[in-house]
């Protein structure tokens, strides 16, 4: 189907403290009705704060599956959005309808429940283990609705909900999907409450963004948008809410929790979004601000907005978090739904909580910008921006438009090469608990990483930092002021920083919500590793972490190639990272997969041809084909998803302009589990008419999940580079993920 790059919103779904559907939430928001009340789902004994914006519906009322609350909130919102869009399985090719969900720390409520049972009751329930990883959420939504398009969980904390929308648009524009169920979801949790409490970042009373700015109020919910290619929407006669124009993603490279006080990173994301939309700052009518209500966010955001928009005499800004609370991984998408409504209705929801005295103070701080205090503003809203800024210094901004608007085509379909590889892989047997990495002070010293920096890192972040720095060094890439904004990062993971999450949660269960660890909490978000890496390396471009089971380590490569092709960056670090500690070993043992777990991190430097040639980079291999596919099966299983593996291999070969029989070797995903191994050999034998070598790297390094998946591609790249007798021309790396996700890349001799 022709794709002229227009993406439109055709369905909305929302559940948050303001109500259980979009209309109820919108009505409350424009009337300044708050959803913030006393917290009921978390024990706030001895805490200085006890306010939250919880969803009144019980988990059972949201959907009837036995999933974590984050998945159930998301299914509720996705159901509304799909119905609103008139989704009809007959009129869609369901392999071209995907699910991209933003989330913060996965199934936090289930992690709490498992370890509460472990510590205080009769032991953790095995059924709760598969509810823990963030990777489950998009898979559960895809399974519920039978959607088999590209599936991903974007786990960049408070910016995740906006990034997921941005990625959905990019995939539609590059022709990889017709439509996405895109947004974010997060449930209320003791983990987040205890963590922000420990950081003294909670407001004692309801949050007061751009006003008292004395802390956040946590919320929960899910916001889902059906984003569809314009042609597809028109062909089926869909109702169109508005257009999604450009977006921008950036890194502060500054601090793991605090934003840059000068607003540089925030402004970089907003500038990218406005520029990618073909707009000027003076065109913008409304900005749904990040507006968390912490002093640091509000000061930096005030500065960013004044710097960019002071020449705009009609811009209005509001923080709907003053009513919805801060819904973390769902925040950006909940705000996107409200922003779309603002564009459609020409009504701007207010920032509530100003007294007469506050209004006087606001006049001084606001200047020409209208902060819509207390009551809604009715005015034409043709162009609106929604901002989200996260821990780790990750920023995202996206633009919605009432009418069609030509956006610049920055597409850069240059060839992409692997020019650097950095690996840290566990090879040491750890008393029957799988294979682990030995990390010593020398690993840090090699890259000039000081103890003052590395001692803050949890294991997941340590692995990522070392492999990322090794890859940059191997490629000879030096990050400086001239290229910091042209380099981005995509990290894939199955389980994220589970060890740190569990450590923090156990402490909270034992010591009480009031005694969470301020030191540990920043590391419990999946994107902390990418944050630390960007801070140390000085990388200021795109920065996303994808949680999507084992195959996330190849998906990160596909995603990074997409970012290069979109023209946003010239160099990308694509990584796969997973840890094997006593925590992960115990959880996997209970699941009874019989796997030998490994751990590590593998990072690849991907580069456009121009960039690689300009600096005379040595090339390992060219990436000539990428594919991400999905066949929705129950999370934790793979049986029944064979079709998606076939599509991954054939689509990647098609993109490379070859047939499977042109492939010289396969780096596969066999891990010793009988189902996994049999799917690999069955499908490969169906796809290839001749015998080709299938290389299994996990025999040596164990099931290091996403790290092993990236290593499959790294191994293929090395074989191609070292091959002097023409044995290899193309090598395929294909990886699988529980729930039915597959990613494949075809590498070619450079």
């Amino acid at each position: 189907m022709e794709n002229n790059r227009r993406c439109v919103v055709t369905g909305l779904g929302l559940v948050c403290a303001l109500g259980d559907n979009t209309e109820k939430c919108w009505s409350a928001a424009i009337n300044g009705i708050t959803g913030i009340r006393e917290v009921t789902s978390v024990d706030t004994t001895d805490c200085y704060a006890n306010k939250g914006a919880e969803v009144s519906a019980s988990s059972a009322e949201l959907s009837d599956e036995d999933y974590d609350r984050s998945s159930l909130l998301c299914i509720k919102a996705a159901g509304e959005a799909l119905a609103d869009a008139g989704y009809d399985a007959e009129r869609f090719d369901n392999t071209r309808v995907g699910v991209i969900v933003g989330n913060c720390v996965g199934g936090a409520a289930s992690i709490d429940k498992y370890y509460t049972d472990e510590i205080k009751n009769d032991g953790g329930k095995t059924s709760d283990i598969l509810k823990m990883p963030a990777a489950a959420i998009a898979n559960n939504v895809a399974k519920h609705f039978g959607l088999d398009g590209v599936t991903a969980n974007i786990v960049n904390a408070c910016a995740a909900g906006t990034m997921s929308l941005s990625y959905a648009c990019d995939l539609i524009r590059s022709g990889k999907a017709d439509a996405f169920v895109a947004g974010g979801s997060d449930s209320f949790s003791s983990l987040a409450f205890s963590g922000f409490h420990a950081l003294h970042a909670l407001a004692a009373d309801a949050c007061s963004p751009f006003n008292q700015s004395n802390g956040i109020t946590l919320g929960e919910g899910a916001g889902i948008l059906i984003i569809e290619s314009y042609e597809h929407a028109v062909a089926r006669g869909a109702k169109i809410y508005c257009e999604v124009l450009g977006s921008g993603v950036s890194s502060d490279a500054h601090h793991i929790t605090a934003p840059r006080p000068d607003g540089e990173g925030q402004m970089s994301a907003i500038k990218r979004a406005v520029k990618n939309s073909g707009l000027e700052f003076t065109d913008v009518d409304y900005i749904n601000a990040h507006g968390t209500g912490t002093a640091k966010n509000d000061e930096a955001e005030f500065l960013s907005l004044h710097t960019l928009f002071d020449g705009n005499d009609h811009v209005s800004v509001s923080s709907t978090k003053s009513m919805t609370g801060h819904c973390l991984g769902a925040a950006g998408s909940i705000e996107a739904v409200l922003t779309v409504k603002a564009v459609c209705e020409d009504i701007i929801p207010p920032t509530i909580g100003y007294t007469d005295e506050h209004l006087e103070q606001l006049k001084e701080k606001a200047g020409a910008i209208d902060f819509v205090p207390n009551t809604k503003r009715e005015k034409p809203v043709d162009y609106a921006v929604s901002n989200s800024f996260a821990f780790g210094g990750n920023n995202a901004s996206i633009v919605f438009s009432k009418n069609e608007h030509d956006i610049p085509d920055n597409t850069n379909k240059q060839r992409v090469f692997i020019t650097g590889i950095g690996e840290l892989i566990g090879k040491n047997d750890s008393e029957g608990k799988g294979l682990r990495c030995d990390i010593t002070g020398d690993d840090y010293k090699e890259h000039g990483i000081k103890m003052a920096f590395y001692r803050k890192l949890d294991r997941f972040s340590q692995l990522q930092l070392i492999s990322g720095m090794r890859a940059l060094a191997d490629a000879g890439v030096t990050v400086d002021d001239t290229n910091a904004n042209d380099i981005g990062i995509i990290i894939g993971t199955a389980d994220g920083p589970m060890t740190e999450i569990v450590g923090f949660q156990k402490n909270t269960i034992q010591q009480g919500t009031a005694n969470g660890s301020a030191f540990s909490f920043p590391n419990t978000v999946y994107n902390a590793a990418g944050g630390y890496f960007s801070i140390f390396a000085g990388i200021k471009g795109y920065n996303v972490t994808v949680a999507n089971s084992i195959q996330a380590g190849v998906q990160s490569i596909c995603y990074a190639v997409d970012v290069l092709h979109s023209g946003e960056e010239a160099v990308m670090v694509a990584s796969g990272t997973d840890e094997n500690t006593d925590v992960t070993h115990e959880l996997y043992s209970k699941l009874g997969y019989g796997l030998t777990l490994g751990e590590g991190s593998v990072s690849l430097i991907l580069e456009t041809e121009d960039n690689a040639n300009r600096r005379n980079a040595e090339k390992y291999a060219e990436i000539v084909g990428c594919a991400m596919t999905h066949k929705a099966v129950e999370f934790g299983t793979l049986t029944g998803s064979e079709d998606a593996m076939k599509r991954a291999v054939t689509d990647a070969c098609a993109e490379a302009g070859i047939t499977p029989d042109d492939i010289s070797a396969v780096c596969g995903f066999k891990n010793g589990h009988s189902t996994v191994d049999s799917i690999e050999s069955t499908i490969l034998s169906q796809l290839f008419t001749k015998d080709i070598p299938v290389i299994s790297i996990r025999d040596e390094i164990g099931e290091a999940r996403a790290a092993a998946a990236t290593r499959q591609a790294a191994h293929a790249a090395k074989l191609l580079k070292e091959d002097t007798d023409g044995k290899y021309q193309y090598i395929l790396a294909v990886a699988a993920g529980v729930g039915g996700s597959y990613s494949a890349v075809v590498l070619k001799k450079a």
Binding site: A198, L199, T257, K450, M451, A452, R455, L457, N515, F519
Partner: protein
């Protein structure tokens, strides 16, 4: 506590090491952790205590000794 909660390698830590200096580089988040840890271990409140008390293990020990049992 400094080794376990703040992950300072034990072999790099002396009683007179500058905790907030360039090498170990503790920051405001770490000081929240030290305050909570000392309250937990010794029942001594350090909220609002003067900055110099946080400089080294020696000064922290002195503060705790002087304020224990109050």
């Amino acid at each position: 506590m400094l080794v376990e909660n703040l992950r300072i390698p034990a072999d790099e830590l002396e009683y007179t090491s500058e905790l907030f200096g360039d090498d170990i580089g503790l920051d405001s988040i770490d000081s929240i952790e030290i305050i909570a840890g000392i309250d937990n271990l010794f029942g001594v409140q350090m909220t609002g205590a003067a900055r110099e008390n946080f400089q080294t293990i020696e000064t922290l020990t002195k503060f705790v000794e002087e304020n224990m049992g109050e």
